[in-house]
Amino acid sequence: MSKTKVAAKDGWFTLDEAAPALIGSRCNGCGTYAFPAEQVYCKNPACDSESFEQVELSRSGRIWSYTNACYQPPAPYIPTTDPFEPFALAAVELEAEKLIVIGQMTPDVSVEDLKIGMPVELVLDVGWEDDEHQYMVWRWKRAG
């Protein structure tokens, strides 16, 4: 029996596996973006808006900075492999929204492959699973 795929964090990204996107918000008052999506009050101190449109953020961006995890992060992180395999992390700048989002890189690249300014795109991957579900998370993947 195949497991049901669910978002590891509801409402933070779409589950469209071919072209997934982070779900942010655009303020109906001042137009500013936010990720995760703003729900209650706009964070722009000059804006009183309480009304937001949910928007899919740009699916691609450029690496602002990068690193890796040579040791297994502590709980509540759930490792994907046993024994632990180091993974690369990228902080990616989205051009249109002018904000930076952190994510693990897909496991096919290591930190030596990365450069600041490198184009990447958003993909989904299984973060962890239980008997019935696969909990999906976002990853950054080298573009092209």
């Binding site: 964090k9 500013t32 900075s65």
Partner: protein
């Protein structure tokens, strides 16, 4: 102070030892103290959250007023501000500030339990982003923008280890060579084990009083707290900060002229009515060796991208033009969160009094501290003779 280490004892013991030492140093009786400001630990259960009362009880209830302060790494400065504000408001003459912690081994991690709405819990659960990963993002930027090298990173550690070796309160009192540091294991590329501060047990305390009280009591060798800043960022904060997985957006509102960390320190300069050119010694939050270089610039001690030049020149070592972290910094201490911002002020106090022994910065008259923690907390304290 209580020496930093991995002692495994209750944090209260460290705080009380530091408090008694501070009172003895000041020549103030505990029974005279009218206000205790505690800096809270999050790791030691309910008592840690009410540190003001916990320390007051451990010293022996004396009926004083209390406050308990939590602001992540800036908790100690918030406790200093709480005591200083009360004195400046004329509500008390003499106050005690105490912070202490007992930490587990390894990475700092969120406290237990499932909290899917807590950004600190989510960054670990969803993406496995530890504190050193954030430090590494900043370090990689420095390498790219300003040409920081692996040898520069190692040199910061060598410098601070040399100072820490002379500090009886430091946890690590061993000197390192460049090779030692450069051969230590990679933790979060480009940061190695010896570039990243450990988590420690420790305690620090200060006695603060009004000028009138000091004069009346004939207290000798006092220093003045000229400013305490715990400023927040200004929207949009476009620098990645723990524990967030994303920055604010600069698509509509341009980023502020002063990014967060430099804003924290410059707010202190403004309150003190001085500028970075007046500073003789600095204690900055070297969570990683690269962050020491960041802070030197953010505190205005040199221009952007020039900190490596200062380091290579020996300007930031004891005996240099502007010594930074003569205590040995977090690299030699490891972080005891609620005690750390207080410990920075202890070091400046000894430096300004000329009591720092082999670590002495000759002729130091003005010192600045800088620190930063999670959730937009940061602090800066300015002390002068």
């Amino acid at each position: 102070m209580h020496p930093w280490g991995k002692w495994g004892k209750p944090f209260v013991e460290y705080g009380v030892k530091a408090a008694r030492e501070a009172l003895a140093d000041a020549g103030v009786e505990w029974r005279e103290v009218q206000f205790v400001a505690g800096a809270n630990t999050i790791r030691n259960g309910y008592p840690g959250h009410v540190s003001g009362a916990t320390f007051a009880q451990a010293l022996g209830w004396n009926g004083c007023q209390i406050s308990s302060n939590y602001a992540a790494c800036a908790s100690g400065s918030m406790a200093i501000a709480s005591a200083r504000n009360r004195i400046m408001a004329g509500l008390c003459d003499v106050a005690l500030v105490v912070g202490a912690d007992t930490t587990p081994k390894g990475f700092l991690a969120p406290t237990g339990g499932d909290r899917p709405d807590d950004p600190d819990w989510l960054r670990f659960r969803l993406q496995g982003v530890t504190n050193p990963a954030y430090f590494a993002f900043y370090a990689r930027r420095r390498m790219e923008l300003y040409g920081m090298t692996d040898a520069d990173l190692a040199q910061v550690k060598v410098k601070n280890a040399k100072a820490g070796a002379q500090n009886p309160y430091a946890r690590y009192r061993k000197e390192f060579t460049l090779e030692d540091v450069q051969q230590s294991p990679m933790v979060a590329d480009p940061l190695r084990l010896l570039h990243i501060c450990a988590t420690s047990d420790g305690g620090a305390a200060l006695v603060l009083c009004s000028r009138e009280y000091a004069e009346k009591k004939g207290l000798a060798n006092t220093v003045r707290i000229r400013a305490v800043s715990t400023a927040t960022p200004t929207y949009p904060s476009t620098h990645l900060e723990m524990p967030d997985l994303a920055t604010d957006s600069a698509a509509v509102v341009p980023p502020p002229e002063r990014p967060f960390r430099s804003a924290v320190v410059y707010a202190a300069y403004e309150e003190a009515g001085i500028g970075p050119e007046d500073v003789d010694v600095a204690e900055v939050y070297d969570l990683s060796s690269a962050m020491e270089l960041d802070w030197i610039e953010q505190a205005g001690l040199c221009g952007e991208g020039e900190a490596e030049h200062l380091l290579r020149n020996g300007d930031t070592a004891i005996g240099g033009r502007i010594p930074v972290n003569p205590s040995g910094g977090l690299g030699a201490f490891g972080e005891a969160v609620p005690a750390q911002a207080i410990a920075q002020v202890c070091e400046l106090t000894w430096q300004l009094r000329g009591q720092a022994g082999p670590r002495q910065v000759e002729g130091a008259k003005v010192g600045v501290t800088a620190n930063q923690g999670l959730f937009g907390h940061g602090s800066s304290v300015i002390v002068s003779v």
